[in-house]
Assembly symmetry: C2
DNA sequence: ATTATCGCTACCTAATTAGTAGCAACTCTC
DNA sequence: GAGAGTTGCTACTAATTAGGTAGCGATAAT
C-alpha cells in the first residue's frame, strides 16, 4: 500500500487505473466522507462539534476521514476548527443538489419524511 | 435484519435519523456504488460486463451493490442487462459534473493524469 | 452431448468501521 | 498555581464490510 488516501493518478482501493473520477469516488465512498463535507458546508466546526453533528461518529473514524480529506485538499484547519477549503466548497456546490434530490427520492420510495 | 439497504426515513449505517440525504450518502458511500452508476450511465451492461468495467470487482460485492441499488430504485434489469432507471438517470445527471471536477482536482493536486 | 457463457451463491480472509477508554495540551477559575 | 473542564486525538478491541476464489444451475450454440 503506497498510501491509503486515494489520489488521482494513483491506484486506489478497488481501482488500479487511478482515473481521477475513480480516485474521487473512492475518497467519497468511505463512511461519513460525504456527511462530513455536508456538515462543514455550513461553516467551521471543531472536532467534537463535528462528531456531534455526525451522530457521535467515533473519533478514530472521524480523524481518519479528516486526514484523508485534508490530504486531498478539501478540508483544512482554521481558527474556528475544521473547515472546507476553496476546493472543498467548490465540490460542495456540486453536492448541494443532492439534498433536494434525496427528498424527491424519499417520496418516490414512499418513505416517511425524516425531517431535516 | 430489517434491511441493510439504506432507505430514507429509516435509520441507516451510521445514521439514526433517517434523513434522506444521510440515507443517500450511506447508499452511495459504499464501495463501487458510485462507480457502478457511472458505468451504467453509458447504457445497459450484463453482470459480467459490468464486472469487467469495474476492474474485476468480485461478484459477491457487485451482486450486493446491485441488489441495494435495485431496491433503491436506481437500477433495474432490462433486456440488455442491468441499466439505470429513470430515477437513476436523474441521479446520474447530478453526478456527471463530478467527472470534469475530478480532473481539475487531479491537476490541483499535481497528480499525473490517469488517462481517459 | 459438449462446450461455453452468464448470473449468481457459498465460503473464507483481509480490510474497514464502530465503539470505548483515556491521555496530553490548553483554558478557566479560584 | 492547583483543580476542573474542554478539546483533539491515540490505542485498543469488536463488529461489519469488502475482496477473492471456486463453482453450480441455467441457457445457448456446436
Amino acid at each position: 500500500m503506497t498510501s491509503d488516501v486515494p489520489k488521482p493518478g494513483q491506484p486506489v482501493r478497488g481501482s488500479k487505473t487511478g482515473k481521477p473520477i475513480m480516485a474521487l469516488f473512492d475518497l467519497l465512498g468511505r463512511s461519513w466522507a460525504l456527511g462530513i463535507l455536508w456538515q462543514l458546508s455550513e461553516g467551521a466546526l471543531t472536532f467534537r462539534a463535528l462528531q456531534d453533528r455526525c451522530e457521535q461518529l467515533s473519533p478514530s473514524v472521524l480523524n481518519r476521514r479528516l486526514k484523508e480529506l485534508s490530504a486531498s485538499g478539501l478540508v483544512c484547519r482554521g481558527d474556528e476548527g475544521y473547515e472546507l477549503t476553496a476546493m472543498g466548497q467548490d465540490l460542495f456546490s456540486l453536492l448541494q443538489p443532492f439534498g433536494g434530490w434525496s427528498e424527491q427520492w424519499a417520496e418516490a420510495l414512499g418513505a416517511p419524511d425524516g425531517g431535516d
